[in-house]
Symmetry: C2
Subunit: 324 residues, 2 copies
């Protein structure tokens, strides 16, 4: 019976190395039973990745697993939360042992890195998709939200921007590069983004607002602005670009436009009051993550772009995953 085959799938997910003391009962009962540390709030986020919408059905399952979990961990990072648990709902057309092995490898590699325990889920028959719910802890009242920014705060981003969009263009075959190494690097930048978990925690008490870049910094910063009732000016010359992006797109204007709209970057975008600017670099030093200031908030609304102090009227198109 098909049902039993899918029950068997569940056994793939029982082989995990993480064994947290706050997981009192894990996979195998009607519910998981968990204990939240005293003085902490629980942070919870859910993300779905659907074949054909968020990844190609023939993509390497280890990379798909990484991307799914990284996207979710990135939401915890954006709140300054420490990851703890994850639930996995996996829907697939037929039990496919090879695919499952690859998926588990990618999934557990990242989960173990962050000491995240799989606490349960569901395996069902249907079109390929993955839904994860991650949970983490944040000390009471210290979460980084989208609504805490103030007039005059500075806008920062971690890492580089634009590589994910370049990788996606290569995956979709919209662009070809003669360099295989560069193709490989940018492809992995798309699939293997590193959630900025340590950076998010380090920014508690320093950043006034934060989120992760999933739809492009222009679009995502807009969420902070609307929640905080502010506008922003971004200096496009300050956008952090990788050497690989500039090799992919030597036209620097186009490269900067890609950086503004590239989604699924999973870098953090955060705002910092003037008084805390000096603390950013120190706080991030131990995380190995760089951050750079790309603009400032003001009392208006919307996002204005400038270069060398002159306004720009760039027309930008949003990032839309695989959908058109």
């Amino acid at each position: 019976m098909a049902k039993n085959e899918f029950d068997l799938i569940a056994h793939y997910f029982e082989r995990q190395a993480v064994d947290r003391r706050d997981v009192n009962l894990a996979i195998g009962d009607d519910c998981a039973l968990l204990t939240v540390p005293e003085g902490c709030q629980l942070a919870v986020s859910t993300d779905s990745l659907v074949a054909g919408t968020h990844f190609l059905a023939d993509a390497d399952p280890a990379l798909v697993a990484h991307k799914a979990l990284a996207a979710n961990l990135s939401d915890l990072a954006a709140m300054g939360a420490t990851p703890a648990w994850v639930s996995l709902a996996l829907t697939m057309p037929e039990p496919d042992e090879t695919w499952l092995k690859g998926f588990c490898q990618g999934f557990f590699a990242l989960a173990e890195y962050y000491n995240v325990q799989l606490i349960g889920g569901d395996t069902t028959k249907g079109p390929l998709s993955i839904t994860l719910t991650v949970q983490g802890f944040v000390p009471q009242g210290q979460a980084l939200t989208r609504s805490g920014a103030s007039n005059g705060d500075w806008v920062y981003v971690t890492g580089n921007l634009g590589d994910s969009a370049a990788g996606l263009a290569l995956i979709l075959g919209e662009r070809h590069l003669s360099s295989e190494a560069l193709t490989q690097t940018l492809t992995l930048r798309h699939y293997q983004a590193q959630p900025r978990v340590l950076a998010g925690q380090a920014l508690r008490g320093i950043a006034s607002a934060a989120l992760d870049i999933s739809d492009g910094v222009m679009s995502d910063l807009g969420h902070i602005l609307s929640r905080s009732g502010l506008g922003a000016v971004l200096d496009v010359d300050k956008l952090p670009l990788s050497d690989e992006l500039l090799a992919f797109e030597p036209d620097e204007i186009k490269a900067r436009q890609m950086a503004l709209t590239s989604g699924e970057e999973y870098e953090l975008c955060f705002t910092v009051p003037e008084a805390n600017r000096g603390a950013v670099e120190t706080a991030l030093a131990h995380t190995g993550v760089k951050a750079c200031c790309i603009g400032q908030l003001h009392a208006g609304s919307g996002i204005a772009l400038q270069s060398n102090g002159q306004p720009l009227d760039w027309q930008l198109h949003g990032y839309d995953h695989f959908a058109e």
Copy 2:
């Protein structure tokens, strides 16, 4: 852009009446922020319902929503937990306002009944499916698990068994009844099962083990037996059957076989030590849920069936949702 249309969907889910004090930040940020009551463990369960596997794509969306949430709340009930929060991942081919309105109506009606707050989720483009993660609280150490049963404990079930399978046969057109009223009643028994939330809480400290009947009592009781290292004898004459089931299937042997294998019943199956038998009825009195004893555990393994003290050799086929 398709992405933005799906962002708009999210607004449907912001209109909810439930506003819990333990939800510190709900929909609209990177994560929800939540507070678990002191002295409680968190109980978490995830279920996916996929169109074509667990429901027909043209089914009434309010019923689909009820079924999805009820299935998940039933897992909390089986642990004796009090429901609190739910995350919803909804994947649909195109934004469909009529379907969404119906879905929200069914979803929020049940959520409000149990004071469950929607805390977040994801809306994505793809084949129709629903994944829910529900969370609830249970006083530290008091959860009902599958592994607590002992030799000699009695086996109980709540409500009646078999109606869900009868309803499913009618929905799939495998059977037709001349009575429209009976067809309607049994169809709703399939779609609108009531999770036994209050009964589960009332059984804390009385039942030694519990689970909810999702795959048929034969199959599900097997989980308690394997976790507890025991066998069971069930008296088929004691299976609780509704008048509607006997009208659907007048052959009483066939009706009792349906009761043993009918899945998605969302009744509780639980075990009770001899010393606690007297407390069951009292504990359940205020919940409006009946329970009846259908057998007893023994030191062996597997499930034996009997009638009038004589063993039966019924060959039963498992319940397999819509899959074959």
